[in-house]
Structure formats: C-alpha cells, structure tokens
Amino acid sequence: MPTQVTVFLENEQGRLAAMCRTLADANVNMSALTVADTASYGVARLLVDKPGDALAALAEAGYRVRLVDVSAVEIPNVPGSLALLLEAFDKAGLNLEYAYCFESGKEGVVVVFRAENIEGIADIVESLGYRLLKSADL
C-alpha cells in the first residue's frame, strides 16, 4: 500500500513553510499535499518520494509525524468516475475517513483515501475497471 506522511501542525504563521523547508533540506520531493485545519491545529497529509527520509527529517526537527498506510486508486479523468467508485464503496458499507485527489498524467486522476475497513476494496476497484495503486505506482 502507498505510504502517506502525516504531520501535526500548530495553527501558527509560517509553520507549513517551515515543514516544507525541513523536507526540502532533506531532499524530499512532494507529489501531493492536503491540510485539514481546525481552529488550533492542522493535520498535513502528504505523499512524497522518500517517506522514510521525510519521517526521519521531520521527527529530528521536532515534529509529531506518522507514516500511514493509505489506499490509492487511479480513475479516468471524466465526469462521474469518482461518483461511481464512492457509490460502490457505499454499497459495500465502506466508510472513508478522508480522501483527496490529484491529476496524474493527462487521462488519469489518483484518489487517495483512508477507510476503516479495506477488505474487498481490490474487488470493487477491479469490477469498475479501475486500478488499485501500489507504492511504486505513485
């Protein structure tokens, strides 16, 4: 499964920039970043080329950081493809904690998500003709 780096950030000016600087100095490249914000803190979720290096650099710099297994599915970049996928998940009783998407290439979109129970995901994805991605695919 793909590995996501999750970072706890206090809601304070410059904190996200500082985190990015730490990653840059460790020569880590990001391919996706999303920040869930609350009044007092944020949780940054990112996909990077070297999760292990990112973890080490951020932990060393004093961040609370976790490596998290997430699921990633490549879907066509056309209207309705995400709706189809989520409807199928819903039907299977699968509850998503969070999800985010980014374009990949010209024709594809990658959906990254974390779910409580991921058993059976592969079958659902395959039945729709979509592709479940491995770490190496990202």
Partner: protein, 441 residues
C-alpha cells in the same frame, strides 16, 4: 482466610483503635504536649500569651484551633536549639537537621523516647507490607543528618528485622547484596529504587524473578502512580509510599498499607489538620488543603500546628486493611504552587494526575490562565506521544474531549484542552514552568 485476617500489625491495639478511644488519647496527649511547649519553650509561651491561651484551655482535640501556628521560618529563626524543650546536653540523644539550602537549617532533637516512638511508627510500616522480625530490610536511604536512613533503621530495630544498612550509593554493590543476602524489603527514595532496578537489569538479573525482595517502602520525594507501577514491575514488589518531615519526626508520620490507597497517619503521635491555605480554616474530609501537624508525644522538639506547605486531603471512609487510623492522600503539591481558578483552589499537580492516566499524551504540560468577561479561563496544553495515531482528526478530538471530561470531574472546572507540538512545551531539567498566568489580578 480473608485479607483482614492475613493483615499484619505492629501495634494492633493502636492501629485499630476506635475513633472515640483515639480522640480521648489524642486529647490527653495534646494537653501534655501543649503544657510541655508552654513551660519549656519561650517561643510558644510568647505566642500563646499573645493569643491569650493557656494550656488549661485545651480540654480536648476540639480546642486545637485555639493554638498558634508554627512555620518553617519560626524553626529557622530558632536556629539551632531555640525550639528545644530540653537542654541539648541533657536527655537529647540525637540531632537531625534539614539541608538549609534556602536559609538556616532546621534542627530537631530526639530523646531516647522520641527515637523509640519514631521506630514504632516506621515498624508499623514494615508490618503493613507484611514484614517483621524474620525480614531482612535493606536500607538505601542516606544515613546522616537526613532522617531517611536512621528513621528506617530505628524501624528495623523496633520490628526486630535484620538490618542491612547500605546507605545510598554504590548501586552495583546494593544489587549484589540484595541478591546474595536475599533482602525482603527495600527502603529508599522511589528514584533510587528505580535506579537499583535498572542497574540490576543491566547486570543481567531479572529482579522480579531472581530476587527475594517482596516490598519497597519509598519516600522523601514525590512520585507518580506510573513510577510506582514501573518499580513494582521491574523489582517484582509491592511499593508503598511513606511520608514524613524531619521537622515533625522523619519518615513514618504516615504510610500506605497493602491497600495502597492513602497513607495511614500515626494519629497517636500526631494530629493532622487539613486547612484552607488562604483562610487557615479546616476543610471537609476529601477536600485538598495544607497539611498541618501537631505533635503529641515528642519530648525534645514538640510542634504546635506546624504548617508543612504540603497539599493533601483526608480520604474519607474505612480502609480495607482494618486500620482505623485515618488516611491522607499522597502529597499533591505545595501551597506555594496553589492557583485559585474561579474561586476553586487548584494545584498544578492535580492536572498532572489527571493526565497521567492518558497513555496518548506525555507528562509535559502547560496551564494557561486568562480572563474573559471577568471569568477565569483555563487552557491545558499537552502533547501527544510519538506513537499516537493522529492521522484521523476525530482521534485528536476524542482525546481532547476525554481529557477535558476527566479534568471536569476531578477539578470541578471546565478546561480547554489543546494538543500542541512538542516544541511548544518548555522542557527544563530543573523545575519546569508549568503555569502561565495571564490574568490581570
């Protein structure tokens, strides 16, 4: 056999005395002690005269409130022997003194009777953990002016146990002898007990399995429940908390029994009061306040209403061990640290205790006090442990809510709980600054 029948006592008739009999004994001894103070210590004669109270006015324990207080400063001012009721060259057998790092040392004298009573108090503790004349007690408190080593030593003598007077230090040798001699009971500070355990493990032992040790009587510094569990696990013992101050006597003023739920006060030798630190009026049982002791049997250095500045409370109800001597809670702070939040007396250590049960957070914390619309607002800032899975925000929110609920139930005040990054909480090797009071009082 029930737990009660297995319970071992050193002085059962005293330890299980009825409240009425104890009241009578305390009242009788109080009058004698006040008389001793008034007749032989000019400081007490002056302060009692200033309040217009004579020994004859003390009919029972209920008259305690008529007596003057004694503070640490009074003891310092009396340096060295100004508060002795007996000439130091007369029947005084021994002197102990506090370190005096913040002023004059406080000096206390002990007659042979004082030493025997002290030994009895500590010997009760030895019985409370199941020890007695057949036990080997390894004393790893420092011996000297500090009361720890010799206090435990007297307890060993009175209980008839075999004493291994190690003193503190030379930890590998402590471990070696603990193993070779088969020590049953360890008496030292909790941090030293932990060092002994870690050293033993480092030396290749599994103390919990390899050593005969069954109990540890630990005191002279504050320790947490988490530390207790660690010591108990590593050494394979029951660890009990013992309390005492050199000014009042030394270790043994109060001590936990096997129930490990509060420290039985040696009420035949000391009267304990819990007073509101502001008003100096008694608080109801169960409520926190300043611990104040009056000695009942001390011949050389008696004290009337000595303000310890330690914060604790009386635990209401009966103890499962069968002892009737009342229990005080472990010391939860110092009066100097007290905060008044919305009129409620709160101690930073109460926050610490409340979060101690949450494995999701570290023991670093900060309390921020502010005012909003004339109301005190409290924020507790904590950080999560590295293992805490915060990837799902609802886990963070649930943690905040659970901590807030715990604080609400233990402190009776609403607290905003904030999870912060580790960098935000000051770390200090010395005394960390835990409270930031931004209220303009």
């Amino acid at each position: 056999m029930t737990a009660k029948e297995q319970e071992r006592y050193y002085q059962q008739e005293i330890e299980t005395m009825s409240p009425e009999a104890l009241f009578a004994l305390q009242s009788e001894r109080l009058l004698a002690s006040v008389t001793n103070c008034y007749a032989n210590i000019p400081f007490y004669k002056r302060s009692m005269d200033a309040m217009g109270v004579k020994p004859g006015d003390i009919g029972s324990v209920e008259d305690l409130g008529k007596l003057p207080f004694t503070t640490k400063q009074d003891l310092r001012n009396a340096y060295p022997f100004g508060l002795f009721a007996i000439d130091v060259r007369d029947r005084v057998q021994r002197l102990h003194a506090s370190s005096g790092t913040t002023g004059n040392a406080t000096v206390c004298g002990y007659t042979q009777q004082d030493i025997n009573n002290w030994g009895d108090c500590f010997a009760r503790t030895i019985a409370q953990v199941g020890g007695g004349s057949e036990s080997i007690i390894q004393i790893a408190y420092g011996y000297g002016l500090f009361t720890g080593g010799l206090g435990a030593h007297e307890g060993g003598i009175r209980s008839g146990a075999t004493i291994l007077p190690m003193g503190s230090g030379n930890t590998r040798r402590q471990v070696q002898m603990m193993n070779d001699f088969g020590s049953d009971i360890l008496a030292c500070t909790p941090s030293y007990a932990l060092l002994i355990a870690d050293t033993a493990i480092e030396m290749g032992y599994d103390p919990a399995k390899d050593f005969k040790l069954s109990a540890a009587i630990l005191g002279a510094e504050p320790w947490s429940q988490g530390m207790r569990e660690e010591i108990e696990d590593k050494l394979g013992v029951m660890a009990v908390d013992i309390y005492g101050l050199s000014e009042v006597m030394g270790p043994g003023v109060s001590c936990e029994c096997r129930a490990q739920n509060g420290l039985h006060v040696a009420e035949d030798h000391f009267i304990i009061e819990i007073l509101d630190p502001e008003t100096l009026k008694p608080v109801p049982d169960g409520e926190f306040g300043e611990v104040v002791f009056t000695t009942l049997t001390k011949e050389c250095s008696p004290l009337l209403r000595y303000q310890t500045r330690d914060i604790s409370r009386i635990l209401p109800g009966e103890c499962s061990c069968g002892r009737t001597l009342r229990r005080m809670d472990r010391i939860s702070g110092r009066t100097d640290d007290m905060l008044i939040i919305r009129g409620v007396n709160v101690f930073p250590s109460q926050f610490q205790q409340a979060i101690a049960d949450f494995i999701e957070v570290t023991n670093h914390y900060e309390i921020i006090l502010t005012k909003k619309d004339q109301l005190d607002m409290v924020e507790l800032r904590v950080e999560t442990v590295p293992d805490f899975d915060f990837d799902e925000i609802r886990r963070i929110e649930s943690l905040q809510q659970r901590i807030a609920a715990e604080l609400k139930s233990s402190l009776q005040i609403s607290v905003k709980v904030s999870i912060v990054e580790p960098k935000s909480l000051v770390r200090s090797t010395g005394k960390a600054k835990r409270v930031i009071d931004e209220r303009q009082l």
